[in-house]
């Protein structure tokens, strides 16, 4: 069972996260943070982090481009974590069984919110005609309501009434339909691949394919090595008590530093090249002024 105060906090968070994503974008609107919050509220931070991590990877390349709706990975994470903890469904199963369907259904409520705000836009037009400055601001800020409610209503209702249903599903997946439960678990492990493939479509892979190979090969070698050393270490501690060394897994942050170094080299090279052909920044600025005529219009818009 999910207690009323848990439902209340999670519903409030569901409303907050979309406003955060639209405005300050603090990363508190990310699936991995949603997993952390929901895990803490439900009393199992680890399950929350695991679900949040899988969903985060799945949507890695899915951004909001030009105002298109994207799948609501955060609401999916909230519900998957809450039900996984309350019904005893395995986290990896909950990703495929709950997070994915919820996230894709909730595209519809996102579209609804964007439509609802058109009404406020017309009210603002009227207020402009009437010089009603307070009215403009009021109807603008009212836009927060459709946004927040589009997340709060479905998440709140699902948390309040979905528990029993999900518990039954979890039970079936663990017993008579185990093949499906295992399949969903495997799917949960494969789904991050979708995020990576989307990201590759979005990035200029053809131009930078060499870095894709570098990143894959470095990490593949290191992660195999680190993994083998960990296995060895665990085996050694069983053999002798004198062996106390502790081995960690491969740090992704370390790989990010290597990636950053490559990026920094490329940046320095391209700016150095540009400066040498243009004779430095001073002339660059002068050239920029030439492109602007007296009225301040940009005649040479190279951006």
């Amino acid at each position: 069972m999910i207690a009323w105060w848990q439902i209340a906090i999670l519903t409030l968070y569901a409303g907050y996260q979309i406003l955060d994503e639209l405005q300050i974008y603090s990363a508190m609107s990310s699936p991995v943070f949603a997993g952390l919050v929901t895990g803490l509220v439900m009393g199992d931070m680890k399950a929350g982090l695991m679900i949040g991590a899988s969903v985060q990877l799945m949507v890695l390349g899915v951004g909001t481009f030009g105002g298109a709706s994207k799948i609501d990975a955060n609401s999916g994470t909230i519900l998957a974590t809450a039900f996984s903890v309350s019904s005893g469904m395995k986290p990896a199963t909950a990703v495929a069984a709950i997070a994915v369907p919820v996230a894709s259904i909730m595209i519809q409520t996102d579209i609804l919110a964007r439509f609802a705000n058109t009404f406020f836009a017309h009210r603002i037009d009227k207020m402009v005609d009437e010089y009603n400055y307070k009215g403009i601001e009021r109807y603008f800020l009212a836009g927060a309501l459709p946004w927040a409610l589009s997340r709060m209503i479905p998440v709140g209702l699902a948390l309040a009434f979905g528990g029993g249903f999900v518990t039954n599903v979890a039970h079936v997946l663990n017993t008579s339909w185990k093949w499906l439960g295992d399949g969903l678990t495997t799917a949960g492990a494969v789904l991050p691949a979708v995020g990576f493939a989307i990201l590759l479509h979005y990035l200029p892979v053809k131009k930078h394919f060499a870095y894709l190979f570098l990143g894959f090969t470095f990490t593949m070698l290191f992660t195999t090595l680190f993994g083998s050393v960990q296995t060895l270490g665990t085996a050694m501690t069983e053999v002798t008590k004198k062996f106390t060394a502790n081995f960690n897994g491969l740090s992704m942050l370390a790989m990010a530093f290597i990636a950053f170094a490559f990026a920094a080299i490329a940046y320095q090279q391209s700016t150095a090249l540009h400066d040498s052909t243009n004779g430095g920044n001073g002339e660059n600025g002068a050239a920029a002024k030439k492109n602007t005529n007296e009225e301040g219009e940009i005649t040479d818009d190279e951006l």
Partner: protein, 273 residues
């Protein structure tokens, strides 16, 4: 036209703070299908417009109407356009309307694409991957590293308004090369990280081990001998191809992957690693 009346108001630091506050905490609240961020643009600069043109004047109404027209750009770069816009409006007043409209429509597209690729795709991808990597082991520290990075970006968003206001239109030309170089460097980092992620974050292995005679043929062992992490690389390659098909959306791809994985798992070909 009742132009040539140059406004006398000069923007102060207090104005910049107000615009930044409104932009950071309110810019996209009014987002809608019809005119997208238009009402948000008006909202962020409304107090300043009132100061420049004066309450109740026909100029103010004209400019308020101008600023409720369609607008959509990256919400990480919108105040650059606002800054350039206000520097024009402050000097030219209503006579600068055409310039302002040209500026806004000319700049919003390019800033949208750079902003989306850096701030909506690459940074969340890189920091999200680091956070997810740590989270998989039950460690929430990565999440806070990401939040710290976003706070640094908020500082950057706060600073850019005044720079854009001071430099005016020339900023765009001086900035464009550096931005292009930065985007290029950031995409290199992105591509490298995707390679790293493929090698670490897809935990599936071959479960397929048919018996040939009496010797079981352990597929995973042989694929590891060719190259470790072969299966994850093949999966990403296959989905990459799938996404390039006609009528394919990311949501459809997710469901196809979901069903194919369940089928392959049920047939005993792959399993969670």
């Amino acid at each position: 036209m009742m132009n040539s009346k140059k406004p006398a108001y000069k923007l102060t630091d207090k104005d910049f703070r107000q615009i930044n506050r409104r932009s950071l905490f309110g810019f996209q609240l009014g987002w809608n299908y019809e005119r997208m961020q238009a009402s948000g643009y008006l909202y962020t600069i409304l107090p300043q417009l009132r100061k420049i043109y004066g309450d109740g004047t026909p100029e103010l109404k004209k400019m308020m109407k101008t600023h409720t027209q369609f607008f959509n750009t990256s919400n990480f770069f919108n105040t650059i356009i606002t800054g350039i816009d206000l520097s024009v409006e402050e000097q030219e007043g209503i006579a600068g309307e055409e310039t302002v409209v040209g500026l806004k429509t000319g700049l919003m597209g390019s800033f949208a694409s750079i902003g989306d690729s850096i701030f909506a795709a690459l940074i969340p991808a890189i920091f999200g991957a680091i956070a997810a990597n740590m989270a998989q082991e039950g460690n929430p520290v990565g999440v806070f590293i990401w939040i710290a990075a976003q706070v640094a970006i908020m500082v950057f968003r706060w600073k850019q308004l005044k720079i854009a206001y001071k430099e005016g239109v020339s900023l765009v030309t001086t900035m464009s090369h550096r931005l292009a170089a930065l985007t290029n460097a950031a995409t290199i980092m992105g591509v490298f990280m995707v390679g790293a992620l493929v090698a670490t974050m897809i935990n599936v292995k071959f479960a397929f081990a048919p018996k040939i005679g009496n010797v079981p043929l352990d597929f995973q062992k042989y694929s590891d001998m060719i190259i470790p992490k072969l299966l994850p690389a093949l999966i990403v390659g296959a989905i990459y191809w799938l996404l390039g098909r006609k009528h394919m959306t990311s949501t459809r791809a997710i469901f196809i992957v979901l069903f194919v994985s369940i089928a392959l798992s049920a047939l005993g070909v792959i399993a969670k690693g």
